[in-house]
Amino acid sequence: MSKIGVFVCHCGENISATVDCAKVAETVGNYDGVAFSVDYTYMCSDPGQNLIKSAIKEKGLTGVVVASCSPRMHEPTFRKACAEAGLNPFMCEMANLREHCSWVHDKGEATTEKAIDLVRILVEKVKYNHSLNDIKVPVTKTALVIGGGIAGIQASLDIANTGHKVILIEKDPSIGGHMSQLSETFPTLDCSQCILTPRMVEVAQHPNITLYTYAELESLEGFIGNFKAKIRKKSKSLDEKLCTGCGLCTTKCPVKKIPSEFNEGLGKRTAIYVPFPQAIPNKPVIDRINCTYYIKGKCKVCEIVCPTKAIRFDQEDEIVEAEVGAIVISTGFTVKQPDFFPEYGYGKYPDVITGLQFERLASASGPTLGEIRRPSDGKVPEKIVFLACAGSRDPAKGIPYCSKICCMYIAKHAMLYQHKVHGGKSYVFYMDIRAGGKMYEEFVRRAIEDDGVNYVRGRVSRIYEKNGKLIVSGADTLLNAMPVEIEADMVVLATAGVANEGAEELAQKLHISYDPYKFFAEAHPKLKPVETNTAGIFLAGACQAPRDIPESVAMASGAAVKVAGLFSQDELTREPIIAVVNRQAAPVYSSCVGCFLCVSACPYQAIEKEEIKNRNGEVIKSMAKVNPGLCQGCGTCVAFCRTKSIDIQGYTHEQMYTEVMALLNEY
């Protein structure tokens, strides 16, 4: 006869506010099989856990049901406590009285009634639980970092410095991400190239880091510690070993009019190009969409001038297979373009630009060598207007969130403009200034007080062009919404930070969830910000939400230490929630008839054929066998099996049947 201990938690008041915990404990106490039933204010606290441990020892409990919060929160905590008291952790189940009951229903009879039902379900289930032991799985001590921006670089360096191998893949021809496009960085105005490029070189030269640029993740299989990643190395039409990066080809290439992505379309680049001078690797790539050879089949100027004959026009994409134990995603974000805004001219006016484009104008290696010049006619703007919240905090446009970094980079842009254009007048239209970081508020005050930037509180209704001037019509809400009309030479929109193109496809390849805005979803917003719901996959930087550089770097180091923690064990223990084919004595051996329908149903190819041979080697029966290392415990095979011969430990037919029966029959 099983002896089950039931521990009903008040969770301070979170449960007891609407559920009569004492009544639950008392009612469940009378069920047969329940040897001990008590309610306590904080089960997850040390005294709470000691309550369980002492009850197990004194009462010799064979099963424990903790009725408190969601098992996704504290199942590991209570299972560890049971293990320490000598009870197999898988004999401990949790009833979710908080998220699924007390928090979502009002105080009353029905709520306590539901709480009792929920506990009864788990009490009945525990009677059919079996002791299970963790599965040991080897760990491949190599990490895969997807995305070579500052977050990816930081994560790769941190992991590599713990002595483990790292594979860093980057979609663009060079690593560096958006940070490499910036002129100076807030709040200290130190030049981004000076602080970033040494890190980029460190990545290129680090013995533990293998860098694949112009490469994307093709597919991913496996699970924590045992991922198999296929990486598509897009063809650079270049033999990287021969190429010395002399740059002769990029100067001789006849196609010179392609808008440079690195310069956000302001500068031009050639068909065979290196995105920016400090690119890592500093070797060119051929843009097959615009290269004349790939369009008309002639030209080949680059091949002719190349001193080391490194050009390979017919080079194919290459698929690289990599076994990795953990993955850090740091694919970053992008910004909305002006064509997203009907009221600012549908992107029709060349002098209405984005923050990133202003960065390129202000950058010494930019198309205008650091001088602020209008894209339309190259003149230095005498009057410039910056618009905060262009698209952000705008539910009507489908982007209700704040993009966090714009208030700071607007102040920086205005400051740089005042430094570079003496006598220039700059305006900033804002709703609220959000400068919450260290030295951030002081930085914005400096822009207002020392550099004389005019901050106008209000939104801009329309921008239209007249006689070469951009008429910006807004209002000043601090002057009783007095209309404000500025004849500006240039307008910079601080457009909303949004997820990358293709973020959704990447999430689906990795089986991680994402939020309605296609930013990747963290496991827990407060307590697990760098983890995802999929074990072994971690997040860093702005791919999870708009984020500035200091936070991205801190988050990257966080993700790196998670990976290092994973790699510190030789073997990974995995939950024994896996499928098992039933075995019986000879001559039946198993109720499985060998139809192998389950083999095709298994997404992880974890089911193999097993053959029973008699003494002289003839196969007398073949049946299914589950490889515990590969099985992830999804249970698809269980529902597939005609003869019900395959079952999942922890969710067996018996257990699920009793749960349903217990749920609908009161005792």
Binding site: S70, P71, R72, N96, R98, E99, H100, C101, W103, V104, H105, D106, A110, T111, E113, K114, D117, L118, I121, Q508, H511, S513, D515, P516, A521, N533, T534, I577, A601, P603, Y604, Q632, G633, C634, G635, T636, V638, A639, F640, I648, G650, Y651, H653, M656, Y657, E659, V660, M661, L663, L664, N665, E666
Partner: protein, 149 residues
């Protein structure tokens, strides 16, 4: 008798809908308390015969919910569940089991509000349909004392 309170059993997958229901909790969104959740690792694991057993035992309505297509933690569990559901639904229609009482849906871990809506909507529609006593006639079960909440 007070207004009929239907008994609803919810078969949900642990990675998405169970987490979604957790989010409904953390966001303190109130919804009808008629539903009891049974947690499965994946909708692929749900054996639809268990649904009939639930009707046997006096359930008035059933919710089956898991990850959106392409979001399944195990890649294809929810595709299998969908295919089986289409087959099972036509089988139920054929045998006279009322599929109006079974609500199949996708709720992701970020859709706390949607879970509350689905529960409220199912409870309302099943309350309208009334207690599922005809099932006993269909299944020709001897009348057994089954108490309703």
């Amino acid at each position: 008798m007070a207004e009929f309170e239907p008994k609803i059993v919810a078969f949900v997958c642990n990675w998405c809908t169970y987490a979604g229901a957790d989010l409904t909790g953390t966001s303190r969104i109130k919804y009808a308390s008629n539903v009891r959740i049974v947690r499965f690792p994946c909708t692929g694991r749900i054996d639809y015969m268990l649904l009939l057993k639930a009707f046997d035992e006096g359930a008035d309505g059933i919710i089956v919910s898991g990850c959106h297509p392409n979001d399944c933690h195990y890649t294809s569990g929810n595709f299998h569940a969908r295919r089986r559901w289409i087959m099972f639904r036509s089988l139920c229609d054929f045998t006279g089991i009322d599929t109006e009482r079974i609500k199949f849906s996708w709720v992701s871990a970020a859709e706390g509000a949607k879970w509350a809506d689905i529960v409220n909507a199912t409870v309302a529609s099943v309350r309208e349909l009334g207690p599922y006593s005809e099932y006993k006639k269909v299944a020709k079960y001897p009348e057994r004392e089954v108490s309703h909440g």
